[in-house]
Assembly symmetry: D2
Homo-oligomer: 130 residues x 4
């Protein structure tokens, strides 16, 4: 499994607020896209996990906002697998416009089954990250 | 079952776009809240329908926008059961700020089971509307 | 100016609802992306219009939903300039998954200045569409 | 100015994801509603700040998720002014369903003028919090 991946995101009009800037809540949607695509680029697929009864739940999320993004900006999101334990995966996220770092985030995930019981992090996630 | 109901909605900051106005896509979320609350005011509950395996799907939606709404406006949404057939429910929606009509919408619903098969509209919906 | 354009859209997780499907309100956000990219592919840019004090406002929007889209589906949106009058632009939208038509929409726009006064549709929009 | 305030929030259908739960990004929209209403309950109004050229920007946001919220849940959000410095306001947020704490957040704001220059926190915000 890959431990880093990068995607491009075009800021959509209704993702921005009357202040004219990308709303701070939206970066967490971008971060989720980042880990979905890291997953896909590694040859796996989150939708298949869900179809198989394995759900990712966010247990902690945070972000520091350094510069605002505007409507129609073309951004670059770097997703990094930062830490993997027996029951948690932690990614770090760096959102850029050109070379300028706009924000830096961190999201901690756990995996649960359909009944909400904590599941161990799959072997292949560990393998990529050691 | 009631055939008309009214709710108040406060426009949220990230529901508005860089133009400063409520984004046109959001009124369909408001309309859905309107029918949820009409449902609840009638003594029923849409979540219970879903828990029982009955899902509402939107087959057609439209809206005419007469005046814009702004962030923090307190709006009034009137939801009206407009037409009920054996397989469809059609609501009309009127969104006001004070006495001013901001937009007028119409959404047509069908009901499906977990496999996506069309289900007949429940008796109690017809009873209210004849 | 182009009169047709096509883009790909990957359905995001929080764009889908507890029923598991793309929420019906979201297609209007997709349609807006479609016209933004048609605009860009024509060598113009909507953000530049706004910076110059020209705002597009939606006066009417509608959609017919034929089949549902699911999380992670890769969709194809075809945007077509359907009609241009002295004060309105009307686009048609066709959303596909592979060859399957999922929904068909129509949105009518007017242009206003910063004070909300209706502005004539620019010459170059007419030129492409005659 | 008040230093604590509580509001009720009904979870909307499209705020929940295919997992059936309130999407983690949405709590930051709720938190913003919490501080808007604390503001209003204190006799002031954030929209008036913006009309006067004073904008709140989020510089840091975080949340710990303890239990999930579901569609149609009626939640209770407690907003607390946690710390005020010369250039920052920090709120804490506690989101409950009945007596059960679902999540706990923290958002740090700065104020800027139309050109994005940092502005001092107004006197009345300090007065309430000493």
């Amino acid at each position: 499994m890959l431990t880093e991946h990068e995607i491009e995101i075009r800021v959509r009009y209704p993702e921005c607020d009357p202040g004219g800037f990308l709303h701070h809540s939206r970066v967490f949607v971008y971060f989720e896209m980042g880990r979905t695509e890291l997953h896909r680029a590694s040859g796996d697929n989150y939708r298949r996990w869900e179809d198989g009864g394995l759900y990712a739940v966010v247990v902690q999320a945070e972000c520091r906002y350094l510069k605002p993004a505007r409507y129609d900006d073309l951004l670059r999101l770097r997703t990094i697998v930062h830490r993997v334990t027996s029951v948690k995966i932690e990614h770090e996220y760096l959102l850029y416009r050109d070379q300028e770092l706009l924000c830096r985030g961190r999201v901690v995930l756990a995996l649960v089954d359909r009944e909400g019981r904590i599941q161990p992090i799959p072997e292949e996630v560990h393998r990529g990250h050691s």
